[in-house]
């Protein structure tokens, strides 16, 4: 068992508000190896903040503290911004939910992917172009030459997300953080995009943090699951063991989702007790 890629211990994210400071993430800890880790939670659970704080994307007045935040043995918390920029994109990448908003609308697809590469490696333009076309093929885009010159509004949602993946994987990072990567896509396209991600990640031996609200999806796609509720980690288990989950929140979530063969007259509703203490 190799050393973990990422070690997070007691991560806290705090924001000041007119009525006092609010902790959005309250001391979660986990490690990530060369595996697929799913972080599941609803809105307000702090899952997106967790992803962003690993990449130090949270600006003041937000405050990120942790006992330990290590990537490949190196500390990430206290290094200067200049060094962090070398990590972002090159060693740890992030894909977000909606390519409509995360792709630059005034640059062509080819230019954007090329830029992601040029920022981290000094290469002549022709070589960049070749690498970009290779990457477009790797994300299963037929006719990469044509897509290279398209603008984001000219491609469909599924293809836009593939472009995003290409852009984020071209510098060959060790970890990919995916924040709701398929939530904005149609059901039929979701499967393809996920299979693609799976393929690329296992081939390159990367680690994946998959952030989502969809417990069912995460249980099928990931190896391990972390359930977050209001900033805390309430459950951690292997994906296959989800039905043996013990925490009432997880069980409540599992029970309240309607099934394809639904026979219940009423869906069980989560009783929001004070689970933070259990």
């Amino acid at each position: 068992m190799s050393a973990p890629l990422l070690e997070v211990e007691n991560l806290r994210v705090r924001f000041p508000t007119p009525t006092g400071p609010v902790d959005v993430v309250r001391g979660i800890s986990f490690t990530l190896g060369r595996e697929r880790l799913g972080i599941v939670g609803e809105s307000g659970s702090g899952k997106s903040m967790t992803g962003r704080s690993i990449l130090r994307l949270i600006r003041p007045p937000g405050e990120v503290t942790a006992d330990r935040l290590r990537f490949e043995g190196r500390d990430l918390l206290d290094i200067p911004e200049r060094d962090m920029r070398k990590v972002r994109g090159a060693r740890i990448s992030m894909i977000m939910q909606d390519p409509k908003f995360s792709l630059n609308p005034v640059m062509t697809v080819g230019q954007q992917i090329g830029e992601a590469l040029a920022v981290h490696e000094r290469l002549p333009r022709r070589q960049i172009r070749t690498r970009v076309l290779e990457m477009l093929e790797a994300v299963q885009i037929r006719d990469p030459e044509r897509v290279f010159g398209l603008y984001p509004h000219e491609v469909s949602g599924g293809m836009g997300q593939r472009v995003m993946i290409a852009m984020m994987l071209i510098p060959e990072p060790s970890i990919l953080i995916a924040d709701e990567p398929t939530s904005a896509l149609d059901v039929s396209v979701q499967g393809e995009v996920l299979r693609l991600m799976n393929d690329l990640i296992s081939r390159k031996g990367m680690g994946l943090i998959f952030i989502s609200h969809d417990l069912h999806l995460v249980s099928q796609f990931c190896d391990r699951i972390l359930v977050m509720y209001r900033g805390r980690n309430v459950e951690e288990c292997a994906a296959g063991d989800l039905d043996k989950a013990t925490h009432p929140y997880t069980r409540g979530l599992l029970a309240s989702v309607p099934r394809m063969n639904e026979t219940r007259d009423e869906l069980p509703v989560l009783e929001r007790g004070d689970w933070e203490n259990s």
Binding site: S43, V187, N261, E262, T263
Partner: protein, 247 residues
Amino acid sequence: MSAISLRNVQVSYGDTRVVEDLSLDVAQGECFGLVGESGSGKSTVLRAITGLAPDWTGQIELFGQPRGKTIDREFAALCQMVFQDPYGSLHPRQTVDATLSEPLAIHGIGDADRLVPEMMTACGLDPKFRFRLPHQLSGGQRQRVAIARALMLKPKILLLDEPTSALDVSVQAEILNLLKRLRREQNLTYILVTHDLPVVSFLCDRLAVMQQGRIVEIAPVSALKSGNMSHAYSRELVAKSADRVAG
């Protein structure tokens, strides 16, 4: 006489034909599901019925009365709609009270001080939220306000456009339960548009599957539950819904 009847309806947005030759009937008190992927035209069908998408041809009848292209008070008292986005469907500067009193004021119905808290309670909203603004409410609470608003005029038909898609999983269950209860209590007729098949399984009696503007299959919900949909596209949708990762 069916509550809702559509015959050979075609809807266009500008030059694009979005819905083609669509026919269906919904009986009174029935919950009819309209499923499909984005771009299938399912939401457009609702907009045509309401008159928000007035560029349609064919016949639409509600309880035997032919439907025109305009929205008048008579129609408003008969048929209402609940929208998908709880954040966009409430006026950002109006309190819950103002939002719920508005339909009463438009129709000259007095007694708002009694009717508003009554409806709030019926939809599971604590009356103490009466003077809150939308940004002070959670997503689930906003959707309850949207449902309450739709029911203020006591309509017989409710058109639901993906009412729970934008909500958290735990909140979705509450809203689905609420919709089911209200239909039973008030003998409402629903058309529920969604891409989420399990929701149809929970709420609906029958469903229609749409693909690229056309209905490819109409089936009772038992066919969905037992995995016996007939059309190839329907089966594909069911398969993809059930298992999103395996091939």
